[in-house]
């Protein structure tokens, strides 16, 4: 800094000679990246020796002959040569200077505690710069990591894993598996969808022990550090605007292949004839609903209508498929609007950044999501050695739920609305004949109108977040500074769910509690009053974080030492409660009181119940942490670096024995810059370095305690009661992950090929495992530190510059490999549990998420029954087949991809740039859903495999779908649906997105005095290019339709 100002001061004194004075050349010097003007830049005529300095606008004027060449230089920038005459015109020149930093000093990584030059970092970091963060158009910041962050997997289709995102695979079996997210120094509590992506400057992902260990007991799953933008001192005020509009297609309701209505009706007729519905039809106490078809068949059976009438009524339903109604009446294309505005700048002592953002997303059902975000960050330097930072962030979101009308109408031939769009009643809980005679007794109409109902519910959630941060850094001596940071974060969410009196929910509840005279049947009292029902829920969390740390950066000769050390204190207090108001009238804001203490006879079930949702005390949590940490690195001669870190965390997790509250964790690493050695002669490979780290990260599981713990409540006699939630476990410890990482970084001459290859081995130790206990003990599950696992993998990142010149073509390749296996587990799960896959059933030697299936022996040629093997003999003993020995099941492989990554190409030419990202997931398995007669009969859950079912001998050669039999043999369905026949390879390649940007800087800078103008088009979810399965299933979206193609259009402008 000092050298720079000295140089600038000197530059003023360089005399400008005025001799023959050729015509002056004018122009502007700008920074090639930020596109901001560069002031104090020296412009010299190479021949004439005449020189000048650019002004604040980067403008210069210099007399120079047309044959001369200008030398443009500035400290920190690469010196540029520019011929005076470019095209004969007398237009001002636009000269772009490239910052040296971006080429040599590459990137800094931000750990949340310090920013480290990547070249001196031993750990495994992935940095997404602003360009990559902005590449994707989305309102959610985390979406923007997808397909561009090496080693980061998005686990879309897992219902049992809680980790939507995993960094380098899984490090735990049952505990928290989500990565820690840090925003501006401190862990971020609350919903990440609150963060405005336009405020984000960069994202750093900490992948190994050395990188993440500074976060100690919460680092085992990796850390995502988000850094927001800030102003710089001595920077001209700039204004940036970004606006976009997106539109997405309607969900494809036909994605899951189903049977045609006419065939479903035939199934119902068959079941009716077999007496399947007898017990339901004979139920004259609660009159459970039967389908309209069964209703008609019953009328025919009792003789109320003729066969011809019955046939005619049933046939009229055969052509209806209510999925059409869902598409036409309920769904609409989704849209999203985004507006963002940033203002930043700075003077000698103050730098500021102010931003505002507004999003409005409309979902494909009537959902609305709005977000307003405001951020203001200020730095000022009142005295030379002190810099103070403050930041205020305010975010408000408003969300209105959309109601999915399809859940109420299960029968495919029940239309939601007639041809005029009027909502039609759907068969729901009770038979129509029963409902129809109740109204005259004084009950509310008990019909369900699914389409109309969606409009009678108003479910909105409003959240507010305030984040205040204050920090300061005092330079004690040249090489040491003292730093403090404090952050206050408050989040409040209020949900308001109003259901009008006409809604099915209210009518149903009122009717259930309606009291009537036993002899006349007439209604006598309504313990739940008429009127709407309003449910309000409120939750709030307040986090206070404080940190004090000392930073040391000392360079002397060939030694460079960098150390941070400090302490941290953190408290999160959260509470939530909910309240229900009955008989609510939104117009005059009144409600009616109810008697929560009495038990009422409920109708038609006849049991006695109290009115639900009595006021309760809610929940209250208080989490406290105290940590001490130190992290240091030492570099010798710019080529040998060693690093180390230690951290100790203590918390108030309840029930943990006092001596186990604190967990110490540490890491160490080394780096060798081979290219800087004197013996290194490879000129084509100017950068080559090796890195290695080793260390431990921790993971916490808040659900466990060392003592028997119980959850307090109140029973129906208003007596305090207690539910045991945790049996005692005196030897409970926190989980640890040990990790070794080895890496090589390289770059060829002229940046043609650049990248890194990393290899790691990680071991999960003292992992919490569950299961493995005799239920006679009184607990069905035991949880303790019984497990360990091992993961290995690698990440390759390769960036190539394929062409230079007018057309620049770059390719970015990400290949990640990850595999894990359980190495220690006390309990051997049953083969049935492993095949079912409904819960995590760890087996030593296999991945945590594995796909197993029953051995498949094809269909019986005589009957079409599915067959398996018992002791290598073909068998149809389904009871035995679904509970085989461990040796009798088939292991297919991991349920999570072994290989994943992306292949991204960008081509730019004269302001136009086109980029397309292809992502892939390889080497894994999944089980597809097919036809199950059990659910087909019980709930008419159909699958088009019905048409492929075995019907006559010979069919077994072409199909694997079993024959239809009645009565259902449960385990026959279970066996088939979990057999080898239903297992598919998950491998697929997807064209994730295409982006097209048009940069109009040259044009606007000349004509409109804009700094920057860019228009962009972005197409997301373009589709699958190749998949291994032949059934057209998107392995990321098996149960529901994958999101349709999403088109975005936008504009960025800078002034």
């Amino acid at each position: 800094m000092k050298i720079l100002s000295l140089f600038c001061a000197l530059a003023y004194w360089i005399p400008v000679s005025a001799q023959t004075l050729p015509k002056p050349v004018t122009g502007t010097v700008i920074n090639s990246q930020t596109r901001l003007p560069v002031e104090q830049c020296t412009v010299t005529g190479k021949v004439s020796g005449v020189a000048t300095i650019t002004n604040k606008q980067g403008w210069f004027s210099l007399p120079a002959s047309p044959t001369d060449t200008l030398v443009i230089s500035h400290i920190g920038y690469a010196t540029k040569l520019q011929a005076v005459v470019t095209d004969g015109s007398q237009q001002p020149l636009l000269i772009q200077l490239t910052e040296l930093n971006t080429e040599l000093e590459a990137v800094t990584v931000n750990t949340g505690y310090q920013a480290v030059a990547k070249e001196r970092a031993t750990g495994s970091f992935v940095v997404l710069n602003n360009d990559l963060v902005n590449r994707r158009v989305s309102t959610n910041i985390i979406d923007r990591l997808q397909g561009v962050a090496s080693g980061v997997a998005f686990n879309k289709s897992d219902s049992k894993g809680t980790d939507e995102i995993s960094i380098r695979g899984r490090s735990t079996i049952f505990s928290n598996a989500t990565a820690l997210v840090v925003v501006d120094n401190f862990p971020y509590e609350g919903s990440l969808s609150n963060i405005n992506p336009n405020d984000v400057e960069s994202i750093t992902i900490l992948r190994d022990a050395a990188a993440a260990s500074i976060w100690g007991a919460r680092a085992a799953n990796g850390v995502i550090v988000i850094t927001t933008k800030k102003g710089r001192f001595n920077q001209k005020a700039v204004l940036d605007i970004n606006s976009s509009f997106s539109v997405g297609t309607k969900p494809d309701v036909f994605y899951v292949p189903k049977m045609q209505t006419t065939d479903i009706i035939d199934i119902e007729k068959m079941l009716f004839d077999k007496g399947y519905y007898n017990s339901v039809l004979n139920n004259t106490t609660t009159y459970p609903a039967v389908s309209p078809v069964v209703e008609i068949l019953q009328l025919r059976k009792t003789g109320a209508i003729t066969q011809a009438e019955a046939d005619q009524q049933v046939d009229a339903l055969r052509g209806i498929d209510n999925r059409n109604d869902l598409t036409n009446l309920a769904y609409r294309p989704s849209t999203s609007q985004q507006y963002a505005l940033n203002l930043s700048g700075g003077s000698q002592g103050v730098a500021y950044f102010v931003s505002g953002g507004y999003n409005r997303d409309l979902g494909s059902l009537a959902q609305v999501n709005e977000r307003i975000s405001l951020l203001s960050r200020t730095s000022f330097s009142p005295v030379a050695n002190l810099q103070l930072n403050s930041s205020i962030s305010f975010i408000q979101t408003n969300a209105a739920e959309g109601i999915y009308p399809g859940s109420a109408s299960v029968y495919p031939y029940e239309r939601m609305a007639d041809d005029n769009g009027n909502s039609l009643p759907a068969t729901r809980s009770y038979r129509k004949g029963f409902i129809s005679q109740l109204q005259q007794r004084g009950f509310q109409d008990w019909s369900s109108y699914s389409l109309a109902d969606a409009k009678l519910t108003d479910n909105t959630t409003k959240t507010n977040e305030i984040r205040l941060a204050l920090g300061g850094r005092y330079q004690l001596v040249k090489w040491a500074s003292l730093e403090f940071n404090y952050q206050y974060q408050q989040q409040a969410a209020a949900t308001r769910n109003y259901q009008a009196q006409q809604s099915y929910f209210v009518r149903d509840l009122v009717n259930q509690y309606t009291q009537f005279n036993a002899t006349t049947g007439l209604v006598t009292a309504r313990p739940i009053p008429l009127g709407g029902i309003l449910d309000k829920a409120h939750s709030e969390s307040v986090a206070n974080n404080g940190r004090l740390q000392v930073n040391i950066n000392h360079t002397s000769g060939r030694h460079r030492l960098s150390v941070i050390a400090g302490g941290e204190i953190r408290q999160v207090r959260s509470e939530s409660n909910s309240l229900r108001l009955y008989g609510y009238d939104p117009l005059i804001i009144t409600n009616k009181t109810v008697n929560y203490d009495s038990s009422y006879l409920t109708f038609p079930f006849g049991s006695r119940s109290k009115i639900p949702n009595a006021p309760s005390a809610g929940t209250e949590f208080l989490d406290r942490y105290l940590s001490g940490f130190a992290n240091g690195s030492y570099t010798y001669n710019n080529r040998y670096t060693i690093s180390g870190s230690v951290r100790k965390d203590a918390s108030n997790y309840f029930g943990v024995a006092a001596n186990q509250r604190a967990v110490p964790l540490w890491s160490a690493g080394a780096k060798w810059d081979i290219d800087k050695e004197s013996f290194y002669k490879l000129r084509w490979l100017p950068l080559l370095s090796l890195r290695m780290t080793y260390g431990y990260n921790g993971n916490i599981n808040k659900s466990l305690t060392a003592y028997t713990t119980a959850l307090s409540g109140t029973n129906n006699f208003n007596l305090p009661n207690a539910l045991i939630i945790n049996p005692p476990n005196a030897s409970l410890r926190w989980e640890r992950v040990q990790m070794v990482n080895m890496a090589i970084d390289f770059r060829s001459r002229n940046n043609r090929v650049e990248g890194s290859l990393e290899w790691y081995v990680k071991k999960g130790l003292d992992l919490i495992g569950s299961g493995g206990i005799d239920p006679t003990s009184g607990v069905a599950r035991f949880t303790g530190n019984v497990a360990s696992m091992r993961g290995t993998g690698g990440d390759l990142q390769l960036n190539t510059l394929n062409t230079t010149g007018a057309v620049a073509w770059r390719t970015n390749i990400l290949v990640s490999y990850n595999t894990d296996k359980v190495t220690d587990y006390q309990l051997v799960p049953t083969a049935g549990a492993m095949v079912s896959g409904a819960t995590i059933s760890p087996l030593v030697g296999s991945p945590v998420f594995s796909v197993y299936s029953f051995n498949w022996a094809g269909l019986d040629p005589a009957t079409g029954d599915p067959q398996g093997y018992i002791n290598k003999q073909v068998s149809k003993d389904y009871t035995k087949l679904v509970a085989p020995a461990l040796t009798d099941i088939q292991y297919h492989g991991s349920a999570r991809p072994l290989f994943f990554g992306s292949f991204r190409n960008s081509i730019s030419w004269a302001g136009l740039s086109l980029s397309a990202n292809i992502t892939y997931k390889l080497g894994y398995y999944f089980r597809r859903k097919g036809l199950e007669y059990n659910t087909l009969f019980a709930s008419l859950t159909t699958h088009s495999d019905y048409y492929k079912r075995w019907q006559k001998p010979g069919d077994e050669l072409t199909t694997q779908v079993p024959s239809l039999i009645y009565p259902v043999v449960n385990n026959r369905d279970v066996f088939y649906s979990r057999s080898e026949a239903m297992t598919e390879k998950g491998d697929h390649i997807r064209l994730q997105d295409i982006g097209l940007n048009y940069n109009m800087d040259k044009f606007v800078q000349k004509r409109l005095h804009f700094r920057h103008l860019e228009a962009y088009v972005y197409i997301n979810n373009c589709g699958i290019l190749w998949r291994a399965n032949k059934n057209g299933i998107d392995p990321d979206h098996q149960q529901v339709a994958p999101p349709g193609i999403h088109y975005s259009f936008g504009l960025r402008a800078g002034f």
């Binding site: 039809l281 139920n283 108030n652 009184g778 607990v779 679904v882």
Partner: protein, 461 residues
């Protein structure tokens, strides 16, 4: 450098050291407790969702009821049973393999969950030295714990171990009698004799500790203990003791419901926690919902026209001409298995009859029945002999205590007497299944996974 660095380290250490103690002792979840106090122990035992509520899956009494002749299933209904009702489906036809590898059998797990709660409470109470003012509460908690555990053991013994036979009870395998909260303690089967001995000893202790009555119906009391003891001795065929304990119970509590005051038009006419109940316990199993299980036609025909139980207990099922049982003392479709004053009257009557005390036996029977018949229509029961009285009392016992799991206990003990032995017959799809008296299928198998975990001996079947 040295000074500032040391200063900071000192600061950190101070922060960490000084506030670590108190600051980190604050509870993380305000709703969670480590049960240590007397109140906490009672709160565990008052957790009635597990201990005695109708919504729990205590399940053993209903599993017992599955094997009785009180009901039948029509073929289509039986065929449609699946999922959680799979083992009821198999038990209905006395199949050899009932569980088919089912991995969670509530009839085993939930009674032992009750046992675990009581063991936690009993161990906790042992560590508390109550102040004189707390002695009554302490006694109450220990008494409740012993009662709940004994009740669970009793039902488990009715289902998973052989009927009591004094000559072989010492070697017949009983049930695991878990008495420690340590979940790692091994489970082994005690003998039938040890099982009954412990149930009796514990219940007797509970009877000494508990008060004669409680303001909270869900808590065990002295009469509840005597009622349980009467049941236990009845199951053992010790009619002298059974009669004595039924008598002790009735001395303290003998309120009977007058069925003339009950509104039979309601779906479930008998209310939960009604005055006749001495100890409530119920289990809901969807096999016995009115549209599935139909009341046995012979049973239904046993009720006289003016017997109010005919309408209070039974409701017609659609147009089938059959009837469902709607008379649960839980006020729901749940199987009620608690103790009532009526059960004690009928138990004492049986014991009097067996002791040749015909007059006292008929007096008890008529005391009960007059409350069951339409006012003015009841003709007191008479008998030719004590044996005749016994026949009549056992017929009334079946009518009064149907759908409570108790019929299973009665079948097991009465089958040893050729006068009362019956063969149970099922008909599904025109195939007949029978359960002859004294068959080994009167003992259910232990769930397969329990055998795998513990290596304990399986019941032959």
């Amino acid at each position: 450098m040295q000074t500032s660095y040391k200063l900071l380290l000192l600061l950190c250490c101070m922060t960490l050291g000084s506030c670590k103690k108190g600051w980190l002792d604050e509870k993380s979840n305000k709703g969670i407790v480590v049960p240590t106090t007397l109140k906490d122990m009672q709160a565990l035992l008052d957790y009635n969702v597990v201990m005695n509520n109708g919504s729990s899956l205590f399940d053993v009494p209903s599993f017992a009821e599955t094997g009785t002749d009180n009901y039948f299933l029509q073929t289509p209904v039986w065929q449609a049973l699946s999922g959680a009702l799979l083992y009821q489906k198999n038990a209905y036809i006395f199949a050899k393999d009932i569980f088919e590898g089912t991995l969670e059998v509530p009839s085993w797990n939930i009674p032992y969950q009750r046992v675990f709660y009581t063991n936690v409470a009993l161990e906790g109470l042992a560590k508390i030295a109550p102040a004189p003012a707390e002695q009554a509460d302490w006694n109450n908690a220990r008494g409740c714990a012993l009662y709940i555990r004994s009740n669970a053991f009793f039902w488990l013994a009715q289902v998973y171990s052989k009927p009591y036979n004094a000559t072989t009870a010492g070697s017949d395998p009983g049930i695991p009698l878990r008495s420690v909260a340590d979940i790692n303690a091994p489970s082994t089967r005690a003998s039938v004799q040890e099982t009954y001995d412990q149930i009796i000893a514990d219940t007797k202790e509970a009877a000494r500790l508990l008060p004669a009555g409680s303001p909270y119906k869900i808590r065990a009391t002295k009469p509840a203990c005597y009622g349980l003891l009467a049941r236990v001795y009845l199951a053992m065929g010790n009619y002298t003791q059974a009669g004595l304990y039924a008598d002790s119970c009735l001395q303290l509590y003998n309120v009977l419901l007058d069925f003339n005051t009950i509104n039979a038009a309601v779906l479930y006419p008998v209310t939960q926690y009604n005055a006749e109940i001495i100890y409530p316990d119920a289990t809901s199993v969807s096999l016995f919902i009115p549209s599935r299980a139909m009341a046995d036609t012979v049973l239904y025909k046993m009720y006289g026209t003016n017997d109010l139980r005919k309408t209070v207990f039974f409701k017609p099922v659609g147009s089938t001409g059959y009837y469902s049982f709607n008379g649960s003392y839980d006020g729901t479709a749940a199987i009620f298995s608690g103790v009532t004053a009526a059960e004690m009257y009928i138990t004492r009557a049986e014991c009097y009859a067996r002791a040749n005390n015909q007059t006292a036996a008929l007096a008890d029977l008529n005391t009960l029945l007059i409350k069951r018949w339409k006012t003015g229509t009841f003709v007191p029961v008479t008998a030719l002999s004590a044996e005749d009285a016994l026949y009549k009392i056992l017929a009334e016992r079946r009518k009064e205590l149907c759908f409570r799991g108790l019929r299973w206990m009665d079948l097991r003990r009465l089958n040893t007497d050729s006068r009362f032995a019956v063969t149970i017959t099922r008909m599904i799809n025109n195939i007949t299944y029978t359960l002859p008296p004294g068959d080994i299928k009167y003992t259910y198998p232990i769930p397969d996974y329990i055998i795998q975990y513990t290596g304990m001996q399986q019941n032959p079947r």
